[in-house]
Point group: C2
């Protein structure tokens, strides 16, 4: 925790407040920082862009990866104004930053009407017990995809 960290989070908070004021989306902001410099920022744009994945962290991660020309955020820190939801947490693990700073908690978000506890529960529920039905279909056929993948010598894992 350095004065720099606090300044980055304060900036993300101001961005989130501005996002609410302009009516662009939900009350969330995020920054991606590398070596003390802001690589990219993001605010929640779900309602204004008709994109349910446009959470602040996802917007910031996508922009930072574009800026860095990489699908990994190696050595980067993410500053999120709220504890990331399961979707964003998944995105963070795929992007592999060094650290995540967060300000508000999931309880604070729930108090404001953004409750992701259902998603946490569903993620650990068995596939047959989910509220959105998850139905298996053509598993055998799908192995052809992985066979094709394994046979590609120049495949690029991530």
């Amino acid at each position: 925790m350095t004065p720099g960290s606090q300044a980055f989070m304060a900036r993300a908070i101001e961005m989130a407040i501005d996002n609410v004021r302009t009516g662009s989306g939900g009350p969330f902001g995020a920054l991606v920082v590398k070596d003390g410099a802001v690589m990219a920022s993001g605010v929640n744009l779900v309602t204004s862009s008709n994109d349910p994945t446009a959470h602040a962290e996802i917007v910031a991660i996508r922009a930072a990866c574009r800026a860095l020309g990489s699908f990994q955020l190696t050595g980067c820190d993410i500053y999120a104004t709220c504890e990331p939801c399961p979707m964003c947490l998944g995105a963070i693990y795929w992007a592999r930053p060094a650290r995540v700073f967060y300000a508000a908690t999931r309880a604070d978000a729930a108090d404001a009407g953004f409750d992701d506890s259902l998603i946490y529960e569903e993620l650990t529920a068995s596939l047959t017990a989910r509220r959105i039905p998850m139905l298996p279909l053509l598993r055998g056929e799908a192995q052809r995809i992985f066979d094709a993948w394994r046979s590609r010598i120049d495949r690029r894992p991530y």
Copy 2:
């Protein structure tokens, strides 16, 4: 399960195989279907677009929402060639489709080198025990964002 469902999944599987053949990304495909018509499709574009969030399901959800002019996939079915990872599952819960069909399982994906079991574990781990450190910062300041949100009469929840 109808013959239609099998045809949609077969189509998603062919798209995923093509994606591997063209080297555009990982071995995954997805379709969004509404009232028997394909609204949008997606393939994994992580490595070719430098976007760690460009999993097939996310690409298809974003495209379907654009096509529908909505941030919700009410009444839609998602056909995914593999059981969705935690990030995509989160996106699915935010998009709220009617059903999800999946072909390969997470075990099949792990066998092919795409193991998301770490992410499942981390999602349920306490914030202080995560492999990517999650550090609290300025929680009090962040309440100003939610205060601004609550004071907006025309706020649009999602």
